[in-house]
Symmetry: C2
Subunit: 480 residues, 2 copies
């Protein structure tokens, strides 16, 4: 251990990681080069193979190294992407009646079309979810427990799954009782029930702008209005704007992302989350938070949800396993300390209870410990996809294109320069069997027609890369 | 074949059945006696064993014979029950804001309590559903198709299941395309989506009185009002009353049972169904029909749903497999020829799509042909339960008790004489570990406090019989 400074407060693998990081940052190991093999570096530094392996994994998690199968570790080759971030959004600050149903259903039809390159809907590809193990748990649950569970469950869901969910929440510092959780049919039902539990028809919901079109659809179907708030592509919603809206009693409930918002990938920093919670508390306005992308963080630590920051706040937390494990299982959940009764009434009147065996299978999977290893693989894969996509956009899209740099999730938000309408672009792309999500779907205000969202949920391939390049080329043609 | 008149237009088994029926009706074979063994009667009538068996099964289906395991066939011993039917209901004809959430959630908690005798919620017991075969289909689907289906489905549901559902509808004379069907998370979600597709907050829904509390809960959660219509315990809703309400524009949508309504067990006869459809058409009012009990008919033929009677009518048909096969799978569906777009938007905004593998398992089960044999067993079992329950009520409940005689389903509606409050009765029953559903849950008007609903969804047992007798005894004590 002669070349590595020995520091009593650090683990050996951290020292090895720091050593390699220095080689990268000083340019000794430039982007794209192969780093020393595990065996070589271990010998050089007089540490065990497993210590070096741990160091490389840490650097991979930080995005500094990339593992290439059958080849070894390389310095991440993306380098800084030159494109600017999108500017903070400036939606007109008045409530809007929502009406996105027709184009949204159209998008879903595109998503179900296997002949289209899947850059449209934010759907992880089945092979990336590799849920074979989960399916085996479901098969086992059906065989062994089918008869026992062939009955209505309670609206709150299976206690076994609720216990596992409460246990997981400890990781982000949240103390939850299984009795504060209700299982839902995915995150969409969770958000719908949460809005029902906090609003009356005609009420105004404050949301990020742009925001996921599914949220807009839920708001529309409950006869609510949306107030879109200016939102920064990195640091999330603008609190001062929300404060002004609250001051004139223009908002009855807030619905925000916990982190890695869809489509911006933005995350409100912890201190601002607390500030927002205090603000809402003063105005006695409930907060619904959508944490569906929370487990897909590229940072070392998972950002803490609002609810974990202040257990006394009036928060309804919504999430699901649809982005990380099994969209087809439709298992989501709500956690709330203040609104459980309304939530259970809402669940009963929406779908009575959730299917039982999929809940048992997921609880078995969580309890087996398999979920965390799966998440580690998935985060690396999504992160690598995002970086490759960023590089291709950088190369192929028109000068002046802006693009987000999400710290989690698997979508990118692209703002095209000039007046390129993404709707027209989509029609051209579709004629070449390429799909993406046009910007206007993400707002009630008619904004974002010059934006589009690209999903990085599918395994990277040459065909996919060519599809992204083709969108860029089409956008350049519009410009010319 | 000397003793049986030979009629060229009848099958032999029908002639044998007619012969035995005459023996019963003339009193030659009184209630409760054993009928001749298959072998004996076959020899006497010079017909094959299988012909006699078929004849006995027909009589069993008509409720004239009962098969007792290891013993043979007996003349059904129930005989006519002396109790009167409940009078036609007379709810106050004005819209009511609905508020039943708290006592309904309480009922669900009782339903989940295994220490209580399960006469409360209308839940078929797992052993009567004997869904082992279905569970094996689910296990198989998870093993073989798990990866393929680990993605979001479309809001309309799996095409395979929709094809099977469309195929089944042919049995009741309904021509449906799979593209006119949307799969839901049980019948509750179907009803919720159907109401969303046809109403705005504050609208008035015309319903039967009394009606299933789950329907009331859905109406409440969508901020609608209920107009309860007078309803006959046999022949269903009073059309003249509906006509008067429509004439003064007091109703925006109708929600009625297709047959065997819960809790009355009433069915609008075909001619009256057509009359009602014409009336609604004149007023351009949509009809939502709930056919969840339709497959549990004690009559030879299944009553036809409204939708089958007039394909041009504005009908949203709702049903599910929860009462006949698998409440825990949460597979329901909507069929509609006029409102599909609104229904799909509703499904997307309520839960995006339904879990896929349970849909595949049920489609496999339907396609295997196993469902019909299962239904035949189930109908016999529910019918036998209903008859035993009626007999016990006849013997044990106070003089003046009225009770329904449903031709399908598995619930009985009991009206107690005098002013016995079923709420108070329930508290006493609960203290003796017996549960039933108190009448006031089934209305928004505060009526039916002297009524109660008994579920016959569990296999008959001495303990269950004692529980019913005990409720009767408690009711008699209130009277004294």
């Amino acid at each position: 251990m002669d070349k590595v400074k020995n520091d009593a407060t650090r683990h050996r693998y951290e020292e090895v990681a720091a050593f390699v990081m220095e080689l990268i940052e000083t340019g000794t190991l430039p982007p794209g080069t192969k780093v020393p093999s595990l065996r070589t570096l271990s010998r050089q530094l007089h540490v065990s193979l497993s210590t070096t392996m741990q160091a490389y994994r840490v650097l991979e998690d930080k995005g500094m190294l990339e593992a290439r199968p059958q080849s070894g570790f390389y310095v991440a080759s993306s380098g800084p992407v030159a494109l600017d971030l999108p500017e903070k959004s400036r939606p007109p600050m008045r409530p809007h009646r929502v009406s996105v149903a027709a184009p949204v259903l159209q998008m879903l039809e595109y998503a179900a079309d296997p002949t289209l390159q899947p850059l449209g809907c934010a759907i992880p590809s089945p092979e990336m979810l590799s849920a074979g193990k989960l399916d085996r748990f479901l098969a086992r649950a059906a065989r062994l427990k089918g008869a026992e569970f062939n009955t209505y469950g309670t609206p709150s869901g299976e206690p076994y799954l609720r216990r596992e969910l409460a246990r997981r929440a400890i990781r982000w510092g949240q103390t939850l009782s299984p009795d504060e959780i209700a299982v839902t049919c995915g995150c969409t039902e969770a958000l719908s029930i949460a809005l029902k539990a906090t609003t009356l028809p005609g009420d105004v919901v404050a949301i990020e702008s742009p925001t996921y079109f599914g949220v807009l659809q839920v708001i529309e179907s409950l006869n609510l209005h949306a107030l879109e708030l200016p939102t920064d592509a990195t640091s999330g919603v603008d609190i001062a704007s929300l404060e002004r809206a609250l001051a004139r009693n223009a908002v009855q409930v807030c619905l925000l992302s916990s982190c890695f918002s869809n489509p911006l990938g933005s995350t409100l920093p912890g201190a601002k989350k607390r500030q927002l919670l205090d603000l809402l508390k003063r105005h006695e306005i409930p907060l619904i938070e959508d944490d569906i992308y929370g487990d897909i963080h590229f940072t070392e630590e998972r950002p803490r949800p609002f609810m974990a920051l202040d257990p006394s706040a009036d928060v309804i937390y919504c999430s699901s396993f649809s982005k990380t494990l099994a969209p087809g299982y439709r298992v989501g959940w709500i956690a709330t300390k203040k609104r459980l009764r309304q939530v259970l009434e809402g669940k009963f009147s929406t779908s009575l209870c959730s299917p039982i065996l999929p809940q048992i299978a997921i609880a078995d999977f969580l309890s087996s410990g398999g979920y965390d290893a799966h998440l580690r693989r998935l985060r690396r894969a999504f992160r690598s996809n995002i970086e490759r996509m960023l590089r291709v956009i950088d190369e192929a899209f028109p000068r002046g294109t802006r693009v987000t740099r999400p710290a989690g999730g698997f979508v990118l938000w692209v703002k095209l320069p000039g007046a390129v309408p993404s709707d027209g672009l989509l029609q051209q792309a579709l004629s070449e069997n390429i799909c993406f999500a046009p910007g206007k779907l993400f707002s009630t205000t008619g904004q974002y027609d010059d934006c589009l969202r690209l999903s990085c949920g599918h395994a990277w391939s040459d065909t996919l890369e060519q599809a992204v390049r083709r969108i860029g080329a089409l956008a350049r043609e519009w410009r010319d």
